[in-house]
Symmetry: C3
């Protein structure tokens, strides 16, 4: 059995947005009990991560780590058509993930207690990001 549905997240610019419930809700709706759930973001400047979901400092530390590792406006980059955050957004996406695969058990994504699913917007201005959820199993 396969279930598939897309949804859109309106971001307010760079930062991480919790979408665990968006995934769980679709898994419940699919009626699938045991299987896998795939989340896929259709963009090259936003990504999906599983991140600690209790202390917001984790995500601000992560943001600062990325800002230091892949700095906006780095003179190394020639692809700057959309501004100083253009190329860093592509690299951040590639260093993380465009797609997550989560086990479905007893009709829900079987996440660890601290695992939250986040959309990570890497561009500084707001964007609309399309995500597709595909669930399959029995």
């Amino acid at each position: 059995m396969v279930f598939q549905e897309s949804f859109t997240v309106a971001t307010r610019g760079r930062g991480s947005y919790l979408i665990t419930d968006e995934a769980q809700q679709r898994v419940r709706g699919s009626g699938i009990g045991t299987g896998l759930c795939n989340l896929f973001v259709h963009h090259t400047s936003a990504s999906l991560i599983l991140c600690e979901n209790a202390d917001p400092d984790v995500r601000s530390d992560l943001e600062r780590f990325m800002a230091r590792t892949v700095p906006d406006g780095d003179p190394l980059f020639e692809h700057t058509a959309e501004g100083p955050d253009d190329m860093p957004a592509h690299i951040r996406t590639i260093l993380t993930d465009s797609s997550l695969m989560l086990p479905v058990t007893s009709g829900r994504c079987d996440l660890g207690i601290w695992q939250g699913v986040y959309l990570w917007e890497h561009r500084t201005i707001p964007h609309s990001r399309r995500i597709t959820v595909t669930v399959y199993g029995e």
Copy 2:
């Protein structure tokens, strides 16, 4: 057809632990010939990697690379509740993978000759890590 089973790895602290056989054994047990095998680790401070499995220097070089790139005790980090390796463990997890997807062919994970499946423990003290294997196909 879907097969799913969890197992636990008791780590001895930071380092990589070969779990290729743990995966292959479950694929064999599933009776599935052609399909995909997903491995998922239910934690935010340990990850899964496919790594060269012949020369142990590869994994010690990798460990040193990560220690330099995401140093323990970095003053950049505010999330230090569980010690200097707390935030680096979350970042190492996000830079690598919580989940691996392996093709199943002729009843086994069709890995390249040098590809080993490793659980990578990022915390310095020992932990018990839960991993779920989901196999589906025909």
Copy 3:
């Protein structure tokens, strides 16, 4: 329904090689309308990425970023049997992906308009890289 097929890419050494059509063609051949498509590279020194597919500067910037972050010949590395690019190739692979999961919708991989699928060769000399495509769904 499960479809599986392997193909080989002959690389001309370090760089990224567009393989979107190689994937789309197999999804079409599978006859599967809705589901998921997995691409898997059977090596530890080449990886798969989804990357912006319009401006070639993106991929040269990405290459330079990796060359700076994981430099060839870094004295940190002991695993140098195959040359100064040996260990960096393993690390680049682990920082990116050995496997991609793409949603299949209306009989094709539903990629975003700017998403291209690339094989990223990390060794400086040419190699033959085996990739397996697995498609399942209905």
